[in-house]
Amino acid sequence: MTIIEGKTGPWEMVIGLEVHAQVIANSKLFSGAATAFGAEPNSQVSLVDAAMPGMLPVINEMAVEQAIKTGLGLNAKINLFSEFERKNYFYADLPQGYQISQFLHPIVGEGTIILDLEDGKTREVGIERLHLEQDAGKSLHDQHPTMSYIDLNRSGVTLMEIVSKPDMRSAEEAGAYLRKLRSILRYLGTCDGNMDEGSMRADVNLSMRRPGDPLGTRTETKNVNSIRFVQQSIELEARRQVAILEEGGTIDQETRLFDASKGTSRSMRSKEEAHDYRYFPDPDLLPLNVDADWVESLKKDLPELPDAKKQRFMDEFGLPVYDAGVLVADQETAAFYETIAKGRDPKLAANWVIGEYFGALNRTSGANLTNAPVDATKLGGLIDLIADGTISGRTAKEVFEAMWDSGKDAGAIVEEKGLKQISDTGALEGVIDQLITDNPGQVEQYQGGNVKLIGWFVGQVMKATQGKANPGMVNQLLKKKLD
């Protein structure tokens, strides 16, 4: 919880998020048009999407399935009866003059989502509802001096509006909520979560109150399109509201727009100017009745979700909570890790994936798990060489760098560079015997009680072997000879 210390005392922020998530589906919510991102303007528009006279919507079953799966992934109640209503308003990129949405009877009811916070703690946030609705088209105001252009590719695309309860208390929690929600949606394959392409957008509801007081008046900041901007807009709006409240003013219930480039926000419309959407059940569509057996079968087929996977990684692999959380944030990463951990030391595997591997990915622009020069098999091979004593952990880092640069196997690089660890007792004994012979003074000191000198002996052996000696064995042999 973030408490803002004002001049007149502490303030607590209360945050609720409405997320619009574009559903991954074969076609739009009520038409057969395609939904690919980045297509030529108006190339993915059916007669229904353009609201030609006499056109009728027909529900896309896949969109319903995706909404149900998402609801199940949020541990939410699936409403077997739901209803589409018309939300009436005029805008040039809203061809029907209404958006088909769900109002009184959403397809998904209350659920929960568990946030993973920076300090490794978790926090539960309630989901109020999830409903299906159509997206609008896009108005382009910068293409002509006096006219606006309309692109209807997005018109009719399926959105899930996921509404949280006002359970968040800081920008950090809002960020954690969005990251977790995105992770769940991606695990489920119901939304790609790409905020920069607009397939996930958030409306931020925020109010301030004295700790323990009832809820204050909230504002809604619309259509914020990155997690960072959501957090910035929260900080900004919280400070704005506190400044007003501290001056004895009141907060207007209004809709605001956040300008990320300027880091400012402005009022879009007040409560008085709010639309009367004249919702009513869409007479072109029958109520949506979902079969309970279908929901059950979808439930059975759900993938393992991040929370369950995290718990399993802790139980099965003995990973600490932080490592498990990092590894499961993304389904591909988790699978990558599991491939490596299988039959190997899981903690060693986790250290390598989170440490060296993520580090390399981060500093290599455009690299990801699928195109990286080192894949799971190669990284596993490297870890195997550490485990069987062929190379030391330190050498392994050098080998990994070479693998990343060349794409070659660990074995080939070890061979090529002659990095193979000397684990041959005879060879090491020869080096050690020579060392003892050449340095009687040090031997005497050591045997006289200066046991710290063992480090010096090890260092000399490593020096003599260009670092290839197996340090464990060197220690062991030295002690045997000197003690």
Binding site: A51, M52, P53, G54, I59, F90, G97, R278, F280, D284
Partner: protein, 490 residues
């Protein structure tokens, strides 16, 4: 060959099958009849070239042995159905120049059954009206006149152009749409048969929407058998309309056995309304006698919520219309009147594009859906609608069909009632309840008023029992021996 236009659709079908005449000859006769009757203003768009070339294709199909159930039959299409590459106006200025890239399911079904299109018929703007006077393209004249009077009369509405075209022998049949009586009332005013099928029987895809939960397409013809043949060609499940019902379309003609012995006919007491002209009651009584004579049993029934039907309808239909008509905004098709801002463009376009009646209903509809009034109006109307449907359900426990008058009067003068919307809305008093309940209904010409105008009787049926309705309607038709002709062709 002009006599060809006096054949019924059934007779023409049989004549074509026997080779007595070709589709080309039949169509040519109707194309000429359309020209002769232009003074009625029944058509917004005539498509003679399309008709004749369609007839040639039809003759070719018949030669190959591929004749459909409506092969070679020339029909008129209400201008609410979208027809590919043919101007489609909905009787509104706002659809100026709109040529759809697609064909409505109902008209497409008719063409694949072999029918030929003569043109697009006039209608009340967006099917909102009971007189055809609200059309941007002007009112339609009823082919009938009162005895000894030359005053032009309305054909009823909203399918007024279709009714006039069929009555004037310009078309063998025409499509109509019925939201609250828009097929049945003009059929009654023009002395023809008009059937509104069960909601969901005909696809709404490609038909300009007025009130989605009520709109239903149906046939307008000169005989009951003609309607049975035509409905079979129009109806059917359509996956593109979620409210279309997936049950097979029966051969309605097969149901028309003429035998209604033992059939129970409900006579609802609530349809006896004070102020209804005596001749309307008389024709109703006559219908009762005819059905009794044919062996049917009359049962007095009560439909207690009938008196709420009209106000309920005039809340639900405008509510849906206010939303359905939002798409006519000048952005993508039809009329655009420029403005300096988007809002100004909307205001100018919709202000100029819609007529007074459409604006009235949009305003009523927006009002009854608005915050603070929704429960008092729209929601209450929805609940009453359920009660009205339950009235019929209870009645159909006891009876097979219900007999009522179609309209509370015969055709009235062009321009009458225009300053009194409520008086105009009262035209629908007998047709609206079945619309709200989604039930099928048919109007049959049953006799003439004292001054020589057609009067209709309405039969209402159970869901998807159009066949039973056709059977009873044909018995009434036989008994009525309605053979009077409108003045324009007699």
């Amino acid at each position: 060959m002009s006599k060809l236009t006096h054949l019924t659709l059934t007779e023409a079908r049989n004549g074509l099958a026997k080779g007595d005449f070709s589709a080309r000859e039949l169509t040519q006769a109707h194309v000429e009849a359309v020209e002769v009757c232009r003074s009625l203003n029944a058509f917004i768009t005539e498509t003679p070239d399309q008709a004749l070339s369609g007839a040639d294709v039809s003759d070719e199909r018949r030669r190959k042995g591929d004749a459909g159930v409506l092969e070679g039959i020339p029909l008129a299409i209400k201008d609410l159905f979208c027809t590919q590459d043919v101007l489609t106006t909905a009787g509104s200025h706002i659809l100026d120049g709109f040529q759809p890239q697609y064909e409505s399911t109902v008209s497409a079904n008719l063409w694949s059954a072999g029918a030929v299109m003569l043109g697009k018929t006039n209608l009340d703007e967006f099917a909102m009206g009971s007189s055809n006077m609200t059309s941007y393209y002007g009112g339609v004249e009823n082919p009938w006149r009162r005895s000894g009077s030359n005053e032009p009369l309305v054909p009823g509405g909203s399918s007024g152009g279709s009714a006039a075209a069929v009555a004037a022998r310009c078309a063998m049949g025409a499509t109509g749409t019925d939201t609250g009586g828009s097929i049945r009332q003009p059929a009654a005013f023009c002395g023809i048969v008009g059937m509104k099928p069960t909601y969901g029987r005909c696809s709404r895809w490609g038909t300009v929407a007025f009130a989605s939960s009520l709109d239903q397409a149906g046939p307008m013809t000169r005989t009951v058998r003609d309607a049975a043949i035509m409905l079979r060609g129009m109806a059917g499940h359509d996956p593109k309309d979620s409210t279309s019902v997936n049950t097979p379309v029966p051969d309605y003609e097969a149901a028309m056995t003429g035998d209604i012995r033992g059939l129970k006919v409900g006579i609802p007491k609530e349809y006896r309304i004070d102020g209804t002209p005596a001749e309307i009651d008389a024709v109703w009584q006559q219908g009762i006698e005819w059905l009794k004579a044919a062996g049917a049993e009359m049962v007095d029934i009560s439909l207690p919520h009938t008196k709420y039907a009209l106000p309920t309808y005039y809340i639900i239909a405008p509510a849906e219309a206010s939303s359905n008509l939002a798409r006519y905004d000048g952005v993508r098709y039809g009329l655009r009147v420029p403005g300096d801002t988007l809002d100004e463009m909307y205001e100018a376009t919709r202000g100029e594009g819609f007529g007074a009646e459409v604006k009235r209903r949009i305003l009523i509809g927006a009002y009854v859906l608005s915050a603070g009034y929704y429960d008092a109006y729209y929601n209450k109307a929805r609940r009453i609608r359920t009660l009205i449907a339950n009235d019929f359900k209870a009645a159909y426990e006891k009876v097979d069909v219900v007999l009522t008058p179609t309209a509370p009067s015969a055709a009235f003068g062009m321009g009458d009632k225009m300053d009194d919307p409520v008086a105009m809305y009262l035209n629908d008093v007998f047709t609206v309840p079945a619309s709200l309940a989604g039930l099928p209904g048919v109007s049959i010409p049953a006799g003439l008023s004292g001054d020589g105008l057609p009067l209709g009787l309405q039969l209402l049926g159970q869901p998807f029992e159009e066949g039973t309705l056709m059977k009873v309607a044909e018995v009434l038709e036989t008994a009525a021996e309605f053979d009077a002709l409108p003045q324009i062709i007699s």
